[in-house]
């Protein structure tokens, strides 16, 4: 479970930050807690919108991508600090990343009950409509007398405190699951994936025939695309389009980009179709994905895309045998997202992993032997007697999205799920 931790203090020394760091360390098996820094967040000003400042954006994006948030608050003047309030105001002004987020409040203070008022205040603030967070009821964790409760390694000394914290955190993880379940959108199902690419996304080039063999040229003209020695600013670096091509075309991997509209818009063209592990031809770039697959493969493709789009899986792996005993060809389908976690399409990576395996064996002085206990024929592609694959790679990975007809990856038609295939 991915959580972000926010300590409501910008002072050099903060026991609330110490507490969050401790939780991150001590309970790393339970939660993956990323403790964020709020020092660079500017003081909120309604007439000077800095929503787009790097500090606010970074925090917002991390909150959006997280399952829940833990806030540790000090108490100043019977309330939370201005620095924490300021952050919350940015997150309730033009963006609302806390909306629907499960939140747990904790607080460390020098006295008994020191942060109880601040915690209560924070709860009211977080539940106001502009913030719209969902704060876990009850379960206040107030760490009092902070000066004496940490040992020299910044760990909590008292076992009962640790077990209470653990119990509270355990409740919160359940709370997070329940709330996020409640927030889930109704899944329209894999059948909703439109491989004809009738829809459009922000980057879709309109008015150019997707089926045309010269889609790349036409679309480039229409968008006045950078080319040749034009510079492109990247995360992280600066290349010319030529350099970008040298770079991508020297990858020992066949790369394909299918966008969120299921349009096949790019592959690294360094081989002719006949020499590729998953054949593509230059004229296919721009095609809707339906153009590149045999009809009967469409449901499988839809399922895989849908799993990636909805985040059921981040990467789908598919061994595609049929290229003889010396190759073990893997197709990896990796979901791509923008900084806000929005689905941006699929990066398909195709490579033969046999040379890697062979290299490893040779250089570590090992050899492959058959596992007598293996019940699936998982290594068959690598073994000398290639048997047709019986396991159902596509539907097996998603029991709840079964197509009408069970899918079987047939060895002689290897490229059913891949982004494109020249001979279909």
């Amino acid at each position: 479970m991915k959580l972000v931790g926010i300590a409501g203090s910008v002072a050099d020394k903060s026991y609330n930050r110490l507490l969050l760091k401790y939780i991150a360390r001590e309970f790393k098996d339970v939660v993956d807690l990323d403790v964020l820094d709020i020092n660079d967040v500017p003081l909120f000003n309604q007439s000077d919108d800095q929503t787009d400042s790097p500090a606010v954006q970074a925090i917002s994006n991390k909150i959006l991508a997280a399952d829940g948030v833990i806030i540790a608050t000090p108490e100043h003047n019977h309330t939370i600090t201005a620095s924490l309030k300021s952050l919350i105001e940015w997150l309730s002004f033009n963006i609302h990343p806390m909306s629907g987020k499960p939140v747990m409040i904790v607080g460390a203070s020098y006295y008994d009950q020191g942060s109880s008022r601040a915690q209560l205040n924070l709860r009211q603030i977080l539940e106001s409509p502009g913030v719209d967070a969902i704060v876990m009821p009850g379960n206040e964790f107030l760490l009092a007398n902070v000066k004496t409760v940490f040992d020299e390694n910044d760990n909590l000394k008292d076992d009962r405190t640790v077990s209470f914290l653990k119990e509270t955190l355990g409740k919160f993880t359940k709370f997070v699951k329940v709330i996020n379940k409640m927030n889930e959108k109704e899944d329209p199902g894999w059948q909703s994936e439109d491989l004809e690419s009738h829809g459009k996304v922000e980057t879709t080039v309109e008015g150019v025939d997707m089926h045309a063999a010269d889609w790349v040229e036409k679309a480039a003209e229409k968008t006045n695309a950078a080319e040749g020695d034009d510079y492109v600013k990247l995360d992280r670096g600066l290349l010319t389009v030529n350099q970008l091509n040298y770079f991508l075309n020297s990858m020992p991997i066949e790369l394909t980009y299918a966008d969120a509209n299921n349009q096949f818009i790019y592959y690294n063209h360094f081989l002719e179709a006949k020499d590729m592990l998953a054949a593509r031809t230059p004229g296919q770039a721009g095609n809707p994905m339906a153009d590149c697959h045999p009809k009967r493969a469409i449901p499988h493709v839809q399922q895989v895309i849908h799993m990636l789009r909805t985040g059921q899986t981040d990467m789908f792996r598919l061994p595609v045998p049929g290229m003889g005993p010396d190759k073990y060809v893997m197709h990896y389908y990796k979901a791509m997202h923008d900084a806000k976690g929005e689905y941006k399409g699929i990066n398909e990576l195709v490579l033969d992993i046999m040379p890697i395996v062979q290299y490893y064996l040779k250089h570590t002085g090992q050899m492959l032997v058959k596992d007598p206990d293996a019940d699936t024929d998982a290594v068959s592609g690598a073994s000398t007697n290639t048997k047709p694959e019986k396991t159902d790679a596509v539907s097996g990975a998603s029991a709840d999205t079964e197509p009408e007809k069970p899918a079987t990856a047939e060895p002689e038609k290897p490229d059913e799920v891949s982004g494109a295939s020249a001979n279909s």
């Binding site: 203090s9 910008v10 002072a11 050099d12 500017p42 003081l43 909120f44 000003n45 309604q46 007439s47 000077d48 000090p74 108490e75 100043h76 003047n77 019977h78 309330t79 939370i80 600090t81 201005a82 620095s83 309030k85 300021s86 919350i88 105001e89 309730s92 203070s109 020098y110 006295y111 020191g114 008022r117 205040n121 009211q124 603030i125 539940e127 106001s128 502009g130 913030v131 000066k147």
Partner: protein, 202 residues
């Protein structure tokens, strides 16, 4: 004539709370001197170890110290007082004590219909904290809802019922200031206690 400091509870350029205080300054000119004070420009409070507060906060503290009372007009952000106002109050309680036993009147303007009822309650809680110990005028609330429509082109309050209420409350505040001056036995002790708060410990 009483001298009051009026704190604009926001750093926003176009504030209806500032408009309200400007109106009060003008409207009550024959009854009291009202100086407007801005909180814009104060850095984020970070509990500096040298215990120094910014020059702007020092000047504010001095102004408040010398005034007979303070009027604070607060917007409402997320059902509470804005961070900018909370920030100013953090500075004004950090090894200084201008609010100790100081009579305070709270007003508030917001775009919605409730007119900062929750922010004012929050502000009361803050001003009542051991670090500030202000003397907030009890049972007096001035809410200006729909504040974008509340003033005419000359900056005058349009709603006559609201205006009458404001005049009554202001008269009460004048009396409250006089009474508070007599509640002075614990003043020194209060100031001392605030001074002794060890901020390194919170």
């Amino acid at each position: 004539m009483h001298k009051f400091v009026a704190i604009v509870g926001t750093n926003s350029d176009n504030s209806t709370n500032r408009k309200l205080l400007q109106f009060m300054q003008k409207h009550f000119a024959d009854q009291a001197t009202i100086e407007l004070v801005e909180i814009k420009g104060l850095p984020m409070f970070n509990k500096p170890e040298d215990k120094q507060i910014p020059a702007q906060a020092q000047a504010m503290a001095k102004q408040i110290d010398q005034a007979d009372g303070v009027i604070i007009s607060t917007p409402e952000y997320d059902h509470s007082a804005p961070a900018a106002l909370m920030n100013a109050l953090e500075w004004l309680s950090y090894y200084v004590n201008p609010f100790a036993d100081k009579p305070v009147m709270i007003t508030g303007a917001s775009y919605g219909s409730l007119g900062t009822s929750r922010a004012q309650e929050h502000l009361r809680q803050i001003l009542d904290s051991p670090e500030l110990r202000a003397r907030i005028m009890p049972s007096s609330e001035f809410f200006l809802g729909h504040s974008l429509q509340a003033f005419d082109d000359d900056g005058n309050l349009v709603d006559q019922t609201k205006l009458a209420k404001l005049e009554d409350l202001f008269a009460d505040f004048q009396t409250f200031v006089d009474i508070t001056k007599q509640l002075n036995h614990a003043n020194a002790a209060n100031k001392q206690e605030i001074h002794d708060i060890d901020w390194a410990n919170r």
